[in-house]
């Protein structure tokens, strides 16, 4: 009977599982990165952002998503406080884009976007996300092109 009802209401069978499993396995295939590399990347990402704002390290989520043939990295990084004094901003100001300068941009944007939500200091964090995209077939040593925009909710 349950089976009958499932069929009647078009509930998905194993094909949904297949799709989800495929999505995940292809994500790792495309990344060509070992899981510990991904962890290291997350850590570095958070370190950079932490130079500008205080983030909630325990609630950081990093996911990957397929968008056409490109892979998108979606990071949801809850910001605890934006009261930390900006560090070294001047140093990167006229940025002739060294690695750090570029990596800092999304963090900056994330902080700005989140700021209106942090009405009372110490309140639970507003969350915001940064999105970095990466061409699927990356070339070695090519820096990750990063753009920042408010992401869809997770």
């Amino acid at each position: 009977m349950i089976d009958f009802l499932k069929r009647l209401f078009g509930q998905t069978g194993s094909s949904a599982t297949a799709k989800e499993r495929l999505r995940l396995v292809l994500m790792t295939d495309h990344l060509e990165l070992a899981p510990d590399m991904i962890d290291a990347m997350k850590r570095d990402l958070v370190d950079v952002i932490s130079r500008y704002v205080e983030v909630d390290r325990d609630r950081i989520e990093v996911n990957f998503e397929q968008q056409d043939r490109a892979l998108a990295m979606l990071a949801n990084i809850p910001i605890l406080s934006v009261n930390r004094p900006p560090v070294n901003r001047a140093g990167n100001g006229n940025g002739n884009g060294n690695g750090h300068g570029r990596a800092a941009e999304p963090a900056q944007a994330a902080a700005v976007a989140a700021a209106p939500n942090v009405s009372s200091p110490g309140a639970q964090a507003a969350t915001d996300s940064i999105v970095t995209r990466r061409r699927r077939r990356r070339k070695k040593n090519q820096s990750i092109p990063a753009g920042a925009k408010p992401a869809t909710a997770h």
Binding site: G10, A18, R21, D29, R69
Partner: protein, 263 residues
């Protein structure tokens, strides 16, 4: 030279590359195109068998590459279509018996006497794949709606993208009733995952086993259910805009009917 050089590939074995090559070739020949099918699967040749031409082989691909015979001596004319011929692979040699350059130059030569050169690629992504792709200007990727086939197809799509070859996709052996009940990935799912232009949807049909048993291309059988499917793919290859057979999800009553049937 305006002839088309298309590799038919998949990554995974057993998804229907050879059958697809044979039937597309026959469908093109039936439309009056001059077609050469090249079996690139050195050591595991089968295209000749699927087309019922296995007894006519005198020379093969590797012998052409080594200059032991002319290309035209190795080409086997099909029994049913004058315009269709195949270049068989060597059966007792290794994949590396031929280089990419040799393969590409043989395909170039074949293209001089044909409108279409279809290359039946071996499974895998090693030397045999590299050879087959080296000779082609475009690619058709064949997959079935299964996770392993799709993952391998994805690898192949990546490699073809790296080489700048335009790609089109055939989803083979689709079982619509399973898609409807949610037990098989749909064509939309497959296309979404692979992000490649769709050129054909071939339903799973035991007809194909029967025609392969007899070594006959399915497009010869006027009553075949699959014949119009291959004809459509070929028309799309030719640039015609041909709508896909409607494989939409059924509405509530369609599902009710399916549920009653299944239950």
């Amino acid at each position: 030279m305006s002839s088309r050089r298309i590799v038919i590939t998949s990554g995974k074995g057993g998804v229907g590359k050879t059958t697809t090559t044979a039937n597309l070739g026959a469908a093109l020949a039936k439309r009056g195109k001059r077609v050469v099918l090249v079996d690139a699967d050195i050591g595991l040749r089968n295209l000749d068998l699927v087309l019922g031409l296995e007894k006519r082989i005198v020379f093969d691909l590797v012998e052409v590459a080594e200059g032991r015979c002319q290309l035209r001596q190795a080409l086997i004319k099909d029994k049913r279509f004058d315009a269709l011929s195949i270049l068989p692979a060597a059966q007792t040699r290794e994949k590396d018996a031929i280089t990419e350059e040799q393969f590409a130059s043989i395909v170039e030569k074949a293209a001089e006497v044909a409108d279409y050169v279809l290359i039946d690629c071996p499974a895998g992504i090693e030397a045999g794949f590299r050879n087959a792709v080296a000779g082609a200007a475009e690619a058709i990727v064949v997959t079935t709606p299964e996770v392993s086939a799709i993952r391998d197809a994805d690898r192949v799509v990546g490699k073809l993208n790296d080489r700048g070859k335009p790609i089109r996709l055939i989803v083979n052996r689709l079982r619509q009733e399973m898609v409807r009940s949610g037990d098989m990935l749909s064509v939309e799912d497959v296309c979404e995952v692979l992000a490649v232009e769709l050129i054909g949807i071939v339903p799973d049909d035991e007809e194909i086993i029967d025609t392969t048993n007899r070594g006959e291309p399915i497009v010869l059988d006027e009553n075949s259910r699959l014949r119009p499917i291959y004809d459509k793919i070929v028309r799309r290859l030719e640039g015609e805009i041909v709508p896909f057979t409607n494989f939409d999800q059924p509405g509530f009553f369609g599902r009710l009917l399916d549920a009653l049937k299944a239950g």
